[in-house]
């Protein structure tokens, strides 16, 4: 396990450096937007990574509801947390991109709006976890995760239809992608996925340790009795 972690860390480090080089230096400069467009290589892979993590959260929550084991619960928690972080990156890089290009901070285009709604849903998931007083928090959170995941296609279709009726500037190049750019995009996505995996793994271990400590404390109070 430990060896795998180290290997992953090294691979991530290498990939990120390579991806950084590719994105900032090697990739061709976009015709209309100039160098600002390079933020695209951070904006889009973060979005994909976030979506992937939320998918993992959905699957882990379903598994938890069926099997009630704590591992799935921890995976659900971890993927939601890291997913929210990547979502925040998307929501921050979006305005940073939009401002120099269109002069506006925000645009209600499909991807950005969808990301915002996702962010809201999963932040509310994390808030439920934090505010719950029940001993079965994991179950309640898993239920909410299922709701959230089932909501996402509906969100997508509603925003998509809304946008076809009321078009607005699209962040990202709505049309085709130069193959060299696609290449850089994929490298960045691989780097971000490895980073996400690394962070999740660390957080997973941390959470396992945290729960073990809580169990030990609970066992201690169990044996020693009330004070």
């Amino acid at each position: 396990m430990k060896r795998g972690f180290t290997i992953l860390a090294i691979v991530t480090g290498l990939l990120l450096s390579f991806a950084l080089y590719e994105a900032l230096i090697a990739a061709p400069t976009e015709r209309t937007m100039g160098d600002v467009q390079r933020i695209f290589y951070y904006h889009v892979p973060s979005a994909w990574t976030a979506f992937l993590l939320f998918l993992i959260n959905f699957i882990a929550s379903l598994v938890f509801l069926i099997r009630r084991d704590s591992k799935s619960d921890i995976v659900a928690l971890v993927s939601a947390e890291v997913g929210v972080v990547f979502c925040t990156v998307v929501l921050v890089t979006g305005p940073i991109w939009a401002r120099p290009v269109w002069g506006i901070w925000w645009t209600w285009d499909l991807r950005l709006t969808l990301t915002l709604v996702l962010w809201l849903i999963y932040v509310s998931y994390l808030m439920l976890r934090r505010f719950s007083t029940s001993s079965q928090t994991a179950k309640l959170a898993a239920v909410l995760a299922v709701f959230g995941a089932l909501d996402i296609p509906l969100v997508y279709f509603s925003i998509w239809f809304f946008r076809t009726q009321h078009p607005s500037p699209v962040i990202g190049n709505g049309g085709s992608l130069d193959p060299r750019m696609a290449h850089v995009l994929l490298i960045n996505w691989a780097a971000f996925s490895c980073l996400a995996w690394l962070v999740c793994w660390t957080r997973f271990r941390l959470e396992v340790l945290k729960r073990e400590v809580e169990e030990a404390q609970a066992l201690e109070s169990l044996l020693e009795g009330p004070r």
Partner: protein, 299 residues
């Protein structure tokens, strides 16, 4: 009727070794000498674990044979209930035969209410297992359990009969032969139960305006609606005047005589001194003493 022995870990362990070959034990158990590594845990908790493993099922088989044989209302095995870091129950074990009136005593915070709620199926155990009326899954026997707690579990804005009519609907008291018949049967049952607790069925006052004693009695009536085999009463005599309390105690004894099992948590055990079958003392989440007599003095 009273057949309780303290759990004997050594006997259980030797039983386990006999029933399940060592090679089939889970890995950690093969190399683990529980007694030596966790002496305190071992002695207090016996064998406990939420997760099934061959060792556990062997014990379960032995126990379930015992259950069916002795016709126990409740069989508790290492019950542990934790609220975060606070442990309300720290290893409650015991068998409670059917048809008895058990009085549970103890200071506040001893875990009496928690134990009752777990038997009622309202709370989930952190560890350990319990079998109620011969069933591991309490949901299946819900129709046979009556529960009464310190809050009245009644709607303050409705009258007594109205409340009971609603709850009777939840219990499906009257089989649905035809609508008129079932309504009549429900009505009769509600009146019967209210009269049994010495209240007036025709009283239209909302329950919120009752005196405390009346409210407790109406709450008891609600618990009796479905003619339960197992009655769980949490402090039924609190804030009740002496005369009503005596009447209620008499009623409880009558119920016990009708072959019902009753668990009564109370701070006034004297009311049931001559009526109860067994007194159970709890302290800090464990049962510390069981005795048919109230005054042999607690340890």
């Amino acid at each position: 009727m009273i057949s309780w022995e303290p759990p004997q870990p050594q006997k259980m362990a030797s039983e386990l070794k006999r029933v399940v070959p060592r090679s089939k034990w889970p890995h950690f158990l093969q190399n683990l000498d529980i007694r030596r590594s966790f002496p305190k845990t071992y002695s207090i908790l016996g064998i406990h674990s939420g997760k099934p493993n061959p060792a556990q099922s062997a014990i379960k088989n032995v126990r379930s044979m015992a259950e069916t044989q002795s016709n126990c209302a409740v069989v508790a095995n290492g019950l542990i209930k934790q609220f975060g870091r606070f442990a309300a129950l720290r290893g409650v074990s015991g068998e409670f035969a059917a048809g008895g009136l058990y009085v549970i005593l103890g200071d506040n915070g001893a875990g009496k209410t928690t134990l009752l709620r777990i038997i009622a199926g309202l709370s989930h155990l952190t560890r350990g297992n319990i079998s109620v009326l011969g069933n591991r899954n309490i949901r299946e026997v819900r129709g046979h359990i009556g529960y009464m707690a310190h809050p009245s579990l009644l709607y303050d804005e409705m009258g007594g009969m109205e409340n009971l009519r609603y709850f009777a609907g939840l219990y499906e008291i009257a089989p649905r032969t035809s609508k008129g018949d079932s309504a009549k049967l429900t009505e009769e049952r509600c009146r019967e139960v209210i009269t049994a607790v010495k209240l007036d069925p025709d009283l239209e006052r909302p329950v919120g305006q009752y005196s405390q004693g009346m409210r407790q009695r109406m709450s008891l009536a609600r618990a009796l609606l479905n003619d339960p085999r197992l009655l769980l009463l949490d402090e039924p005599f609190s804030n009740v005047d002496a005369r009503s309390a005596k009447e209620m105690a008499g009623l409880l004894a009558e119920l016990r005589d009708k072959e019902k099992t009753l668990f009564v948590v109370t701070h006034q055990p004297a009311l049931l001194e001559s009526l109860a079958d067994e007194f159970v003392w709890m302290e800090a989440g464990k049962i510390v003493k069981r005795s048919p007599a109230l005054h042999t003095g607690p340890q």
